[in-house]
């Protein structure tokens, strides 16, 4: 179980190999990768800059991971989130959930992403090809997805 926050890119394959090494009880691995889309509506995107709250971010991600461990039968998990200036096609976030069975792996990966999107202190600023620079606004659908887990409990 670990979390990493920083500017560096990640390699999905090597992260998965490392995370599962030595645990042959793992029967399923769910992987989610979030990437920078090349446009906002019709407008091409030039850059997306990720800001975070150093000191709180890692702690909050660990709290989210701990909650996932509490809810699902997880063998291992990993969250990597990038910060700094990114371009279309770049990786933003990696979530890997490993479990004995696929149900726990799928559900935990989705839970981790839903909670991360509404609790982890990251903010995105977009610069568009038309010169507009703006902070991305939070989406109500993300809040609804995270709340649904509370009702499901």
């Amino acid at each position: 179980m670990s979390v990493r926050v920083g500017p560096s890119d990640f390699d999905v394959s090597s992260e998965m190999v490392q995370l599962t090494a030595g645990d042959t009880g793992i029967g399923g691995v769910a992987i989610f990768v979030g990437k920078v889309r090349d446009r906002v509506g019709e407008e091409p995107l030039l850059t997306m800059t990720l800001e975070h709250y150093p000191g709180m971010t890692e702690t909050e991600l660990e709290r989210i991971e701990a909650e996932a461990r509490d809810r699902f039968k997880l063998s291992a998990s990993l969250i990597i989130h990038r910060v700094g200036e990114l371009k279309p096609g770049d990786n933003i976030v990696l979530v890997i959930a490993c479990a004995a069975h696929r149900g726990d792996a799928f559900a935990a990966a989705e839970f981790l992403m839903d909670y991360l999107k509404t609790r982890a202190p990251f903010w995105k600023k977009e610069v568009l090809a038309n010169g507009v620079a703006r902070w991305v606004e939070a989406r109500e659908s993300d809040e609804a997805a995270a709340s649904a887990w509370q009702k499901a409990r």
Partner: protein
């Protein structure tokens, strides 16, 4: 001897568009003794005048963390030493 209530110096941090609108990343100060909750803290920010009045105008759109833990409007500030102000998060 006076029974004066003293408060510690707190670190206030401003993130994302709150950092841009206030023009500062952080400041250290002693909060007025009458502020006891997060909601009162947000109202106090508006009362401070430029640039805080404009930055905190839409206080319902502002989130607060006390010692790096998410807080609610009704949360007591207690002995928090680090208080952060930021918009709803948009990572992932």
């Amino acid at each position: 001897m006076t029974a004066e209530v003293t408060r510690p110096v707190v670190l206030l941090r401003y993130l994302a568009w709150l950092r841009e609108k206030t023009g500062i990343g952080e400041e250290r100060l002693v909060l007025p003794v009458e502020i006891t909750t997060v909601a009162e803290l947000l109202s106090w920010q508006v009362s401070r005048g430029h640039p805080f009045d404009q930055a905190f105008q839409k206080s319902e759109a502002i989130r607060v963390a006390l010692d790096r833990v998410h807080a609610k409007p009704g949360s007591p500030i207690g002995g928090a030493r680090e208080i952060a102000f930021f918009p709803p998060v948009t990572g992932g």
